[in-house]
């Protein structure tokens, strides 16, 4: 057994802060070798709970991961090609592309492709949500609606599952990230782009990308990016924000992180084919004037996008979806339920239905003033966003003696 290291340097064997920047992290072999607990006759401070992260790691690998990625943008911007390039596999088999006539009356569809992929023992169930038909029609008013509805549906499904009795096998189909493709052929954002992003930025993490960037020179790319960033600010669109670096990360990582933030929107090129360039086989596009390499950082930002999406920020995208977007949805849902429930109570009070048939808790009917106060209080609780209510009102739902007209059924004990 190895001799026992002293407590402060009891290294935890993982590259925290690196998370796979292209080279494998220290223990990406799937199952890390557990640190042998050394005989403790002579050691003073070592207890051993530092292996807890290892245990969590093992259990998470055993359980497997899932991720849902949505791609949105007009037809022909290279969405499917980019997805194939990102995950180095062929997602789309037997895809049928429509011609212009067929697309006149096409409505926006939502299609889902689910694949299981595995790398070094880590299993990932990847769901790609596609939006064929987006922006293709002549009249695109509210074409973002099916997309927003889909996202809301997933949230609702999760809310129901979470509120159910048996929660063992909840499937998480919530959309974790939406890559929005901006056309390089214009001068920045178009009205449709703005409308789409504004409709969805409260529901999903939006990562804008500049598609087909091989039609732009580096200078043009810079100009486009600046313009797009300006317009995003101007229209109040909240795209996905990278979390701040820890202060104890090393300088190199901080610089990389800074470069990543400044590259938004990523200028990407995708390719389904492998070509020969300078003796190497690379994914790329062959032109008479040269070969565009997808994975060459000086040709496009594809590598940055892949690093961000897959290697460093996948878990953070899921966390933001869970903790912010889903919680917002849930809060709004409950808020609207509150109004419906209270209104129904009042309606039932007016029609004097028998108390035992109510589908809702039997409590004495509340006079209207109280109802409005309840709704206002709930709204305040929601808008102020404080976990602790200012002071609990123990009797607000059980008001003092009922008014003269028919005494309400007594509250249950």
């Amino acid at each position: 057994m190895a001799s026992c290291p002293g407590a402060p340097t009891l290294g935890i064997p993982f590259g925290v802060g690196r998370g796979g920047q292209g080279e494998a992290p220290q223990w990406a072999g799937g199952v890390p070798v557990p640190r042998p607990l050394c005989p403790l006759q002579d050691d003073k401070e070592y207890v051993g709970f530092a292996t807890l992260p290892n245990q969590v790691h093992r259990k998470s690998v055993k359980k497997g991961f899932d991720f849902t990625l949505m791609v949105a943008g007009e037809s022909g911007l290279g969405k499917s090609t980019l997805v194939n390039s990102l995950f180095l596999t062929d997602m789309y088999r037997d895809r049928k592309l429509l011609n212009a006539e067929e697309r006149i009356t096409q409505t926006v569809e939502i299609t889902k492709h689910v694949v299981d992929i595995e790398e070094k023992g880590v299993k990932l169930r990847l769901t790609i949500v596609d939006t064929p038909g987006f922006g293709d029609a002549v009249n695109n008013t509210e074409c973002w609606k099916p997309v927003a509805d889909y996202i809301d549906q997933q949230f609702e499904q999760y809310f129901r599952d979470e509120s159910g009795l048996n929660r063992k096998n909840i499937q998480d189909n919530r959309v974790h990230c939406c890559i929005y493709f901006i056309s390089p052929f214009g001068h920045g954002l178009r009205p449709l782009d703005v409308e789409f992003m504004r409709a969805l930025h409260q529901r999903v993490n939006i990562v804008p990308v500049l598609a087909k960037a091989d039609t732009l020179t580096p200078a043009e790319v810079e100009r486009m990016k600046n313009k797009i960033r300006e317009e995003i600010d101007h229209y109040g669109i909240r795209i996905y924000q990278f979390p701040e670096c820890d202060s104890d990360e090393d300088e190199e990582f901080k610089l990389q992180d800074q470069a990543l933030k400044e590259s938004i929107p990523f200028a990407v090129i995708g390719s389904n084919t492998v070509v020969e360039a300078k003796g190497r086989r690379v994914r790329g596009r062959l032109y008479p004037w040269g070969i565009v390499e997808v994975e060459n950082p000086s040709h496009c930002d594809f590598v940055k996008l892949r690093t961000m999406l897959v290697r460093t920020h996948m878990q953070d995208l899921k966390d933001v979806t869970r903790e912010t977007h889903y919680e917002n949805y849930r809060t709004q849902c409950i808020q609207s339920m509150t109004r419906m429930v209270v209104k129904e109570r009042n309606r039932n009070k007016l029609t004097r239905e028998s108390g035992t048939d109510f589908p809702i808790p039997v409590i004495p009917p509340v006079p209207d003033v109280e109802t409005e106060k309840l709704i206002r209080e709930k709204d305040e609780e929601v808008s102020v966003g404080q976990p602790e209510p200012p002071d609990p009102r123990p009797h607000s739902l059980h008001p003092p003696p009922p008014p003269p007209p028919p005494p309400p059924p007594p509250p249950p004990p």
Binding site: A7, L10, G11, I12, F14, V16, G17, G19, G20, G22, P25, G30, P34, Q41, E45, Y46, V47, G48, F49, A50, T51, L52, P53, Q55, V56, H57, S60, V61, K62, K63, G64, T89, D90, V114, D116, I117, L124, R125, F159, S163, G164, L165, N166, I170, V310, R311, Q315, D319, C333, V341, P359, V362, I363, E381, V382, Q386, P387, E388, P392, P412
Partner: protein, 366 residues
């Protein structure tokens, strides 16, 4: 290629397994997952049940190598109470928020019939607090300080040479709510031979009374071997000490007698180190099993509130019904809205309108 069941992933119709042509990089996902947990720290809550003076505080100090200050309590309390204290320990870059809950006055009363009740109530109260947080309109589950009890160390007195009735009674009321690890306190008063007999007797009494204690898991190949071996040492015969004795040129936790020195960290002298090792290497499993206990608590609680799941034939199913398993994962069961009777929670509510919240949950599934 048929979709393989990836450990916890349910079978999904229409899901393909694809192979990758090169390194993509999502194998760093587990690391990304852990990075956040490390920053946030981990919670671990221990409940110690045992008579006054059996050595709960000494054992805790020995297990975590930190002298937790605690004054000895009196024998003359009229009822059992629980005292909880929280500490933050750091090892390497792992922050552990440890909460130690001890019973005070357990086994002291003349009439011990209700001794277990405050303990059960405390455990339920922690589950209830978590449930309240989950049902809130604005909730912060991710920064919530989890107070649910992850492990219960039950101290058996070395004097009696078998389990007492109160031990059986208490453990029987707790074994469906918390992971129980029985330990023999002050084990330095028992000789090796007597100890073997004692342990065998205790285990057979536990089995014959149908009491479920925590078994260290043997399905993870990394720890299965050591867990299988250690499962045979249950219950652990522990010795704790708050004091250190100078042996050679080192200060060692020990108890000094005229006839020798009992070293707490010597595996020949007692099982304290085994217990520490087991707690540390299986900490995540203990936490996972606690989450499962919480789910059954929640299920019972919601059922008491009148919620039932409905299967596709519109028939109400209770959670004990084996048919339920047929209905996962789709379609999602919807909660039935019954003729309603529900009890308001007796705890002081952090939510202003708990009845409204519950009505909403029910209404959602209307």
């Amino acid at each position: 290629m048929a979709a393989s069941d990836a450990g916890g992933h349910p079978q999904n119709v229409g899901c393909r397994t694809l192979s990758l042509s090169a390194h993509v990089g999502f194998d760093s996902l587990p690391d990304q997952l852990i990075r956040k947990s490390i920053k946030h720290g981990f919670c671990f809550n221990v409940l110690c049940i045992g008579e006054t003076g059996i050595g709960k505080s000494a054992l805790m100090s020995s297990l975590f190598n930190t002298n937790f200050e605690d004054s000895p309590s009196t024998h003359f309390l009229s009822s059992v109470r629980l005292r909880a204290q929280s500490y933050e320990l750091q090892e390497g870059n792992v922050l552990l928020k440890l909460t130690i809950v001890k019973t005070v006055g357990f086994g002291d009363q003349v009439n011990k019939a209700d001794s277990y009740q405050p303990i059960v109530d405390y455990i339920d109260a922690q589950f209830e607090a978590y449930l309240e947080e989950e049902l809130k309109v604005i909730r912060s589950l991710f920064s919530y300080h989890d107070t649910r009890i992850h492990v219960c160390l039950y101290f058996i007195s070395p004097a009696c040479r078998s389990l007492k009735t109160i031990d059986l009674l208490t453990m029987r009321n707790l074994d469906r709510k918390v992971n129980i690890i029985p330990v023999i306190g002050k084990a330095d008063s028992i000789s090796k031979n007597e100890l073997q007999e004692f342990k065998k007797k205790i285990m057979s009494e536990l089995v014959s009374n149908g009491i479920r204690i925590y078994q260290f898991p043997t399905d993870d190949e990394t720890v299965s071997e050591i867990n299988t071996i250690t499962n045979d040492y249950l219950p652990f015969a522990v010795v704790g000490s708050m004091e250190k004795v100078k042996i050679g040129n080192k200060m060692v936790r020990a108890r000094q007698y005229p006839w020798g020195i009992v070293k707490v960290e010597n595996e020949n002298h007692c099982d304290t180190i085994k217990l520490r090792r087991m707690l540390c290497t299986n900490m995540e499993d203990l936490r996972e099993k606690t989450r499962a206990y919480y789910e059954s608590y929640r299920c019972c609680r919601l059922e008491k509130l009148g919620c039932r799941d409905i299967g596709p034939e519109n028939k109400s199913i209770s959670s004990a019904d084996p048919l339920r398993h047929r209905f996962s994962p789709l379609p999602a069961p919807c909660l039935d809205i019954p003729k309603l009777r529900y009890r308001r929670s007796h705890r002081p509510n952090r939510n202003q309108h708990p009845s409204l919240d519950r009505a909403i949950i029910r209404h959602l599934h209307k």
